[in-house]
């Protein structure tokens, strides 16, 4: 781990307070729920959460109960970046006019709400560089509506709208390079994280909150139902994603890439894939070419990041 400034050196430095209350309705073994809990450990002052429609939103706000021990707002699916922009600018101008105070704003959306339907609002918010942190919890499909493919679904994965069919075996297209898209906005701070590496994640959340401008964190959050594995395996699978180089843990500051977790001896990608039902069909001989394609993508991406880090530029 190589985060420049460590706010939480060990797990003992993590505050005991839980702003994400227990009793929510997310699944046993839910990756996103852990991302929420960890995010709330890193806040530095009273903070507002703007939540896109999705698993986390519907499972934490069922009237008359709410799982957030701080102000929380949900408006719609695709506009989280915009709503957070408005609130952040309102706080800023009201402070300037002596009628309010600046506060931290965290926007939280899933991969559907970020990679796909919310990409435009996110891009607008990043370009305008409002003081806000946007966290995308990525479980690689539309899980809330029952596992449909998204722009974040990896090549080969089976979902209910990209099933492992006899003719078309799972999703044929690539996963979008979200951190690349975000990095291209040249915002002050962007990073990837995994719930398997909680200290890395919460340090990044805190670091992002300290920035006076737009920041972004892409956190990988396995989904027990969608990825089809036992709820006891969530952390293990998240860790395998990192250790196989499937999900590189990086920071992009003002466009400059740094790989935080150097995976010098990667585990075979098969270990990550075999653990999940959504990739099962890739191990049939007729689908071997897709498995190879995915392995090639992972290798290329890693080598590209190494180069970018070496050059010191984000291309």
């Amino acid at each position: 781990m190589d985060i420049a400034q460590k706010y939480f050196k060990t797990i003992k430095d993590v505050p005991i307070e839980d702003y994400f209350a227990p009793g929510h309705r997310l699944c046993a073994g839910c990756g996103p729920s852990l991302a929420m809990k960890l995010t709330m450990k890193a806040i530095r002052m009273p903070t507002l959460v703007v939540n896109a429609t999705g698993c986390v939103e519907v499972s934490t706000s069922l009237f008359p109960y709410v799982s957030w021990r701080l102000p929380w707002i949900h408006v719609a699916f695709e506009n989280t970046g915009a709503v957070a922009s408005g609130i952040s600018e309102a706080f800023r101008i009201l402070e300037k006019k002596g009628r309010g105070k600046m506060h931290d704003v965290i926007a939280i959306a899933g991969d559907g709400g970020t990679f796909d339907i919310g990409l435009q609002a996110l891009s607008g918010a990043l370009e305008r560089n409002h003081k806000m942190l946007y966290i995308c919890y990525d479980n690689e499909a539309y899980m809330n509506t029952g596992i449909q493919r998204s722009g974040a679904t990896p090549t080969g994965a089976a979902t209910t709208t990209s099933p492992a069919g006899k003719v078309i075996p799972g999703k044929q297209e690539r996963k979008k390079d979200l951190i690349g898209i975000v990095g291209a906005h040249r915002i002050p701070y962007a990073a990837t994280a995994s719930i398997s590496h909680p200290l890395d994640f919460i340090n990044k959340v805190r670091k992002a909150l300290e920035i006076d401008g737009a920041s972004f964190i892409h956190v990988l959050t396995p989904c027990t139902l969608g990825w089809r594995y036992s709820p006891s395996q969530t952390i293990k699978i998240a860790r395998l994603a990192v250790e196989t180089r499937y999900f590189p843990i990086i920071e992009v500051e003002e466009g400059r890439v740094r790989i935080n977790i150097k995976v010098n001896k990667p585990r075979p990608l098969e270990e990550f894939l075999e653990a999940q039902g959504r990739f099962r069909h890739l191990f049939q001989s007729e689908n071997k070419h897709i498995l190879e394609m995915l392995k090639q993508q992972v290798e290329e991406n890693w080598n590209r990041l190494l180069k970018l880090e070496e050059i010191g530029l984000y291309a």
Binding site: P46, L48, V50, E57, V58, S61, L62, F63, P64, V66, W68, R69, L70, P71, W72, I73, H74, V75, A76, E78, N79, G81, A82, V83, A84, S85, G86, I87, E89, A90, F91, R92, I93, L94, K96, K97, R99, G100, H103, Q120, A121, S123, G124, E127, R128
Partner: protein, 397 residues
């Protein structure tokens, strides 16, 4: 002897007048996206901010959908928010219009009324706002530039009234009002600040009293939320009257939800929205000189619909003509027509009624058109019936 009030006159276009009103309202957050014929409003406002004449966050969003979303977030954070749009922009906002009203965000929005695609057309009709009719917003219509200015100020007073806390749209006819220069009387900044002081939004995002906004409600509670909303928007008429009363005290100008013109003894009454109301009034006055018993009812507030006021005005009319600058395709007529028909039926008024669909995509409705229309109405009354229920007035066939 009463003190003579100094009258401030300016010559402004409708867009400029709306921007000037928003500036005087000392708005905190403006978020918008350029679209003709509204663009001048945000150009002016960004200039006021850039020159330091207005202390506000001016955010040019990357779409109207985001513009209204920014306003919604800002309003709930306690900021006075303003946006403006037209046509496709309003259509793109549609999803969030419902949410903004349901979340009780007192946003003020100017709509420079313009036709919807396709074919593409940048000129005036009311298709845009009629598509937003049922979004739970209060919709006001200006007849001229003075009204566009006045109603923008009144919109803040109405929207922010703690009794309702609802978003308000101020509609001004694209180009006809947005780009026409008219002389108008404006208030001083002090008068405006006294009329609409900044009052804290009662449910603002508050870290000492954290609230959850926009929660999920299932079949056991959803309907009660909607019923509450139904009750809230029906409180808008008294709130409008109150806002109008206090406005008249400083401006001397009086606004009613429906403005009657020569209706007391009128046999024929024409109902309309927007700048056409003035055209109709002008011709009605002329025809009154020839003893034609004709009157005009202009709606300043279209939603909530002033049903009782309309029923009272129409109670003794022999003939009612409804002017629709939009249409409900596949429906029983234009949107205003169906509202008026329902009002007549519910209030037991039986009179000959027809819909006049006119002015779509900026097709001119000139004084001569109004006169021709009145002549048609007079002839129909003589015959005792209309030969159609829906006329496409001015269409080339």
């Amino acid at each position: 002897m009463s003190e003579l009030k100094q009258i401030r006159r300016m010559a402004l276009t409708g867009d400029e007048a709306v921007a000037y009103a928003a500036k005087q309202a000392d708005v905190d957050v403006i978020a918008a996206y350029p679209i003709t014929p509204q663009t001048i409003i945000v150009e002016r406002l960004s200039r006021y901010v850039a020159d330091g004449e207005l202390n506000a966050a001016f955010i040019q969003a990357e779409s109207e959908h985001s513009a209204i979303s920014i306003c919604l977030g800002a309003a709930l954070a306690g900021a006075r928010t303003f946006t403006s749009t037209a046509s496709q922009g309003l259509a793109l906002m549609h999803e969030i219009l419902h949410i903004a009203s349901s979340m009780r965000a007192p946003i003020v929005m100017a709509i420079a009324n313009r036709a919807l695609n396709s074919p593409l057309n940048i000129h005036c009709d009311h298709s845009d706002v009629m598509n937003a009719r049922d979004t739970g917003w209060i919709h006001l219509f200006a007849n001229n530039v003075q009204e566009a200015y006045d109603l923008t100020l009144m919109a803040f007073k109405i929207a922010e009234n703690p009794e309702i806390l609802l978003p308000v749209s101020v509609n001004l006819d694209g180009f006809i009002l947005t780009h026409s220069v008219e002389p108008l009387e404006v208030l001083s900044d002090e008068e405006v600040q006294q009329y609409i002081p900044h009052i804290p939004y009662p449910y603002r995002i508050d870290f000492d009293r954290p609230l959850a906004y926009g929660v999920m409600a299932l079949p056991d509670t959803y309907m009660e939320f909607r019923r509450q909303f139904y009750e809230v928007i029906m409180k808008a008429p008294p709130v409008f009257r109150k806002a109008s009363e206090s406005f008249s005290k400083i401006s001397g100008r009086v606004y009613d939800m429906v403005t009657p013109y020569f209706v007391e003894d009128a046999e024929i009454i024409v109902i309309a929205l927007g700048s056409t109301v003035e055209t109709l009034r002008y011709v009605a006055r002329k025809l009154r000189g020839r003893n034609v018993k004709i009157g005009v009812a202009g709606l300043t507030m279209y939603r909530p619909f002033p049903e009782k006021e309309i029923a009272n005005i129409l109670a003794n009319a022999k003939c009612v003509a409804v002017m629709d600058r939009a249409y409900s395709y596949g429906g029983v007529g234009g949107p205003l027509y169906t509202d008026v028909l329902s009002t007549l039926y519910k209030n037991g008024i039986r009179t000959m009624t027809a819909d006049f669909v006119y002015g779509l995509g900026g097709r001119d409705f000139k004084l001569t058109d109004a006169e021709e229309l009145f002549n048609k109405l007079v002839r129909s009354v003589e015959i005792g019936a209309f030969d159609q229920d829906i006329y496409w007035w001015g269409v080339r066939e």
